[in-house]
Every structure is written in structure tokens, then in C-alpha cells.
């Protein structure tokens, strides 16, 4: 499974290099623009989540650290989902997206900081902020971002 970990590692770097184009390093507010994946990447991400859960259900007993691999796979799918375009992508959805990112960033930093502070006095092996919990925290933060994004869009759709 080390090969799987390496593939995920490479995919993450590939995604970051794709979504942050050269203009991202020009520090010019007009030029900085995230390059989002096409809308159909959302379908791939959803399929990936379902596939990962199925694999987990079928083979979790025979795979060591199956929980870790499941969370890792779901996190990757959520990351792709977050950075995929809406069907009608415009400045409004872009603004909600950035607000939802800020929301999840604040949530992630606050929780990591809080649990990190508690972990200082804990034994390294039984630390509350271990590798698995950190992965879960990343996933939950992305879920919060998605929830904020879609609830806002839903509310806007409703109020006519």
C-alpha cells in the first residue's frame, strides 16, 4: 500500500500545481485566479468516495490501517470536489466559494490549534492530534466548506 500513498502524494501536488497557476505568484489581485477543474470532476470525486467506501466494506479486515486509507481517499475526493466548477460558474459562486474556504480555514486552524495545545502535555503515541485525527480534521474542514457553499446556494435559490 506504500505505492498507493505515493500516488496520492503525487496527485495532491499535481492538483495544487494545476489550481494555482503562475499568476498566483504575481500577487496582483486582478491576475490571481484559481484554475478550477471542469464540472464533471465532481462526478468522478463522488464515484471515488463510493468506490473507496465499497472497498473499505469489502476488504477492511484484510487491509492494515484501512481506516487511514479510507479517510485519505475521501479527503482526496473532497479536495477535487471543492475545486471543481459549478454548472453555472460565475463571480457569485466564486465569492461564496472563497467565503466557504475562509470559513473552513478558520475552523481548521482553531481546532488544530486547540487540540495541538492539549497534545503538548500528552504522550506522543496517545496524542489526540495524531496522524489519523489530523486527516479526519482536514476532511471535516473540507466538509464544512462544502456545507457552507451548498447551503448558501440553496438559500439563494429558494428566495425568489
Amino acid at each position: 500500500m506504500a505505492g498507493y500513498s505515493f500516488i496520492v502524494f503525487v496527485i495532491y501536488f499535481g492538483i495544487v500545481l494545476y489550481i494555482i497557476p503562475k499568476s498566483g505568484f504575481e500577487f496582483d489581485i486582478y491576475k490571481i485566479k484559481f484554475r478550477l477543474f471542469p464540472h464533471w470532476f465532481k462526478t468522478i470525486a463522488l464515484f471515488w468516495i463510493v468506490f473507496s467506501i465499497l472497498i473499505y466494506i469489502l476488504f477492511s479486515s484484510s487491509i492494515e490501517k484501512s481506516n487511514e486509507y479510507l479517510v485519505c481517499a475521501i479527503n482526496l475526493a473532497l479536495f477535487v470536489f471543492l475545486f471543481s466548477k459549478q454548472k453555472n460558474e460565475d463571480e457569485f459562486s466564486e465569492q461564496i466559494r472563497f467565503k466557504s474556504f475562509t470559513y473552513s480555514f478558520a475552523y481548521f486552524v482553531a481546532l488544530t490549534g486547540a487540540f495541538g495545545a492539549i497534545s503538548i502535555n500528552q504522550n506522543e503515541t496517545h496524542s489526540i492530534l495524531n496522524n489519523f485525527n489530523l486527516h479526519v480534521l482536514v476532511g471535516v474542514s473540507m466538509l464544512m466548506s462544502l456545507l457552507y457553499f451548498y447551503i448558501t446556494l440553496y438559500k439563494m435559490k429558494k428566495e425568489i
Binding site: 439563494m156 435559490k157 428566495e159
Partner: protein, 66 residues
């Protein structure tokens, strides 16, 4: 910020969807602008003013709290 988008739409007999297609945004965006939940960018405001053949100031007005 207040706006007369709904009135302008009614005058031109356009639905939210029609206007959204004309300026290349989603219907939610038009709805959010009309209900005052979203302030459009200058570019989008200019596109809207072009559709209704009116100046931006005629469609969008500053509120007392702005």
C-alpha cells in the same frame, strides 16, 4: 445598496433566467442581486446596464447605510 432590477426586468418582460443567460451568470446570481443579498462587480453592473440601456446609477443606488 438598492436596485431596480426587478422593475427593469418587468419593463423589458425578461425573466430572471433570461437576464442570467444574457449576461452569462446563473439565475441565483440575479435573484441574489434583486433581493439585495449580493452586490455585483462593476463589470457585471455594466453588463446589466447595457441590457437595460440605462446608466448604472439609474439601476443601482446607494442606501442610507452604505
Amino acid at each position: 445598496m438598492r436596485n431596480t432590477l426587478k422593475i427593469e426586468r418587468a419593463i423589458k418582460n425578461l425573466t430572471q433566467d433570461d437576464l442570467a443567460k444574457l449576461i452569462g451568470v446563473s439565475r441565483q446570481t440575479i435573484n441574489s442581486i434583486e433581493t439585495g443579498r449580493y452586490v455585483p462587480s462593476t463589470v457585471l453592473a455594466l453588463k446589466i446596464s447595457e441590457v437595460f440601456e440605462k446608466s448604472i446609477n439609474e439601476i443601482f443606488q446607494l442606501d442610507v447605510n452604505d
